[in-house]
């Protein structure tokens, strides 16, 4: 057992080294901009760059719309499947896994060819429609995470009893979903939302191929043209991912722990 613990420490320290050295190196590199002294110049330049602000805001807004669209699609479907159509569950689970099977580049390639300017649904005809298509693409990418989060949340509440109670009190379907079900799975929905945010904020493939002024293509552009700013941007991106994951962890402490129903 003693040798077991020794090897556990060895593995852990090797792993920690592999994961922390790049982070330390990136921080160090990002501060090397001024000759002979460490400074935050690279961060100042990046944060002051108008294109940084514009593309970052663009991606934040895209992420927010992605989350709204994802919730609108996933929550009613997951709720309805738990309540009325459990036989559809395997099909829906299979579909929500497809974005992990079909690479993002293939999905967006399909969009470009199917919804081009000459098609019946010309998403690429103008900027607004293309922005919408980007949000749709992001919602597709986040489908596996959003569905799993919401379904886990629904599992911890008694969907049937809550619905029946609301119906007895005279609530319609929209009232039931927005005022009974959604507040009960809000924490799960928010977990899915933050994960979606983390995925969408720096996404490169779809934004680049749809020619959108998003944060991902901006990052790539800076990487190809500058020396120290990319390292600063990497640290900023890591901090954003870290922030999203911490929020999910904090939220999970508020989530109901026990399932009322076995299913």
């Amino acid at each position: 057992m003693k040798s077991g613990r020794f090897w556990a420490w060895v593995v852990f320290i090797l792993g920690a080294a592999y994961f922390f050295i790049p982070l330390i190196a990136t921080v160090e590199f990002s501060m090397r901009m001024r000759r002979g002294a460490y400074s935050f110049d690279a961060y100042q330049i990046v944060l002051g760059d108008a294109r940084f602000q514009a593309t970052f805001m663009y991606s934040v807004i895209a992420a927010v719309f992605t989350i709204i669209l994802g919730v609108l699609i996933v929550v009613p479907a997951a709720y309805w499947i738990r309540l009325r159509l459990p036989q559809l569950r395997p099909i829906v689970e299979f579909i929500t896994l497809l974005p992990l099977v079909i690479p993002a580049i293939v999905i967006v390639f399909g969009y470009i060819r199917m919804y081009g300017s000459n098609s019946p649904l010309p998403f690429l005809a103008n900027d607004t429609a293309t922005n919408a298509l980007l949000v749709i693409g992001y919602a597709t990418l986040s489908l596996p995470y959003m569905y799993r989060a919401v379904d886990t949340g629904l599992r911890t509440i008694d969907v049937r009893t809550l619905t029946e109670a609301a119906q007895i009190l005279g609530a319609g379907w929209s009232t039931i979903i927005t005022r009974v079900i959604l507040p009960n799975v809000l924490i799960a929905v928010l977990s899915g939302a933050f994960l979606t945010f983390a995925i969408v904020i720096g996404e490169f493939t779809m934004a680049s191929l749809l020619n959108r002024p998003a944060f991902g293509p901006y990052l790539q552009n800076i990487g190809a043209n500058r020396a120290y700013e990319p390292a600063a941007l990497a640290i900023i991106a890591f901090a954003i991912t870290w922030g999203c994951m911490s929020l999910i962890q904090i939220l999970s402490r508020f989530a109901p722990k026990s399932a009322n129903r076995p299913n």
């Binding site: 556990a8 790049p22 190196a25 399909g110 490169f204 991902g216 990052l219």
Partner: protein, 304 residues
């Protein structure tokens, strides 16, 4: 005749109200899931099918296998081959390293905070991919990266003089491992938690040594979820483009980068060849996931 059937229906309706009620409710049954299915059909299934059909058509829209045959040209085969190599190498390295870390934090007798810190960090690192990850590795193992410089000044080891290059097969593999290991840790830790203490006690009671316990109990139980996760990691790396593109530009010709160039500028001078490349990618990740599901169902028998 009409009269008769009408009255029959009326009678049937009166005697069997439940069926009538069901018939009335049928359309509303689907309203809740309709947005989901319409969305999935329009923006996930149909675009993919469109490409897959396009792979078997020529410019005139006739059925042909020419595009698939054209995939056999050396540059495309080389792209598939390097993609498969990078994905497989990063999946295997990530899987074994991730498994070792998961076993260490679950079974190694390390303090509890290490376990929770590792799992939290894994959650972050498995999502830290794309362009910023490329920047981090350029800052580490690029020509002026910290690790490169330190290895040179401290140990006199110039890794670039020894043939290492971040813009190469090993450079890309080492970078992909950064999100592959944490993903493995996140997925496999529950499987190792699922190893029941009783099994170890039962094995010990029956006189098994630690080595026998690992060889005859632990490995057979973990094996399916391990293999399943390796395949998931493979598919994960195979479709990734942003990291590779930001790291190597187009100097390392992996399939997603080839497809990216084809979509942007028809570098292959044949639109339908692009469809065929996409089709090939779907076939490879699809096959990988069929195996994944198969292994997953096998492993679920034990880990309840």
């Amino acid at each position: 005749m009409t009269d008769l059937s009408l009255s029959n229906q009326a009678i049937a309706g009166k005697t069997a109200p439940p069926s009538e009620a069901r018939a009335l409710r049928l359309p509303t049954q689907w309203i809740g899931v309709a947005p989901f299915f319409i969305f999935a059909l329009m923006f996930l299934i149909l675009p993919t099918l469109y490409l897959m059909l396009g792979a078997f058509q020529n410019d005139a829209g006739e059925f042909t296998l020419e595009n698939i045959v054209a995939l056999a040209q050396p540059s495309i085969v080389a792209a598939y081959w390097i993609s498969i190599k990078v994905s497989l190498a990063s999946a295997l390295i990530g899987a074994f390293a991730g498994l070792a870390i998961a076993i260490a934090i679950v079974r190694g007798g390390l303090p509890e905070w290490i376990r929770s810190a590792t799992l939290t960090f894994s959650g972050v690192a498995s999502n830290f991919a794309g362009v910023p990850l490329a920047f981090a590795f350029l800052a580490t193992l690029g020509r002026l990266g910290l690790a490169t410089v330190l290895l040179n000044t401290l140990f006199g080891l110039n890794i670039y003089a020894h043939g290492f290059n971040i813009l190469s097969f090993w450079g890309l593999t080492l970078t992909y491992v950064y999100f592959q290991i944490p993903l493995m840790v996140v997925i496999i830790t529950p499987a190792i938690d699922g190893l029941k203490k009783e099994w170890g006690e039962a094995a010990a009671t029956l006189g098994a040594t630690t080595a026998q316990y690992w060889r005859m109990v632990v490995i057979p139980v973990i094996w399916p979820s391990f293999l399943g996760t390796v395949i998931l990691l493979f598919a994960n790396a195979f479709g990734a483009i942003a990291t590779a593109y930001a790291l190597t530009g187009s100097s390392l010709n992996i399939v997603p980068i080839l497809l990216y160039a084809q979509i942007r500028g028809d570098v292959l001078h044949n639109a339908h060849l692009g469809y065929a490349i996409a089709f090939g990618m779907i076939v490879i990740t699809g096959l990988a996931n069929v195996f994944y599901i198969w292994f997953r169902t096998r492993s679920e028998r034990w880990l309840k």
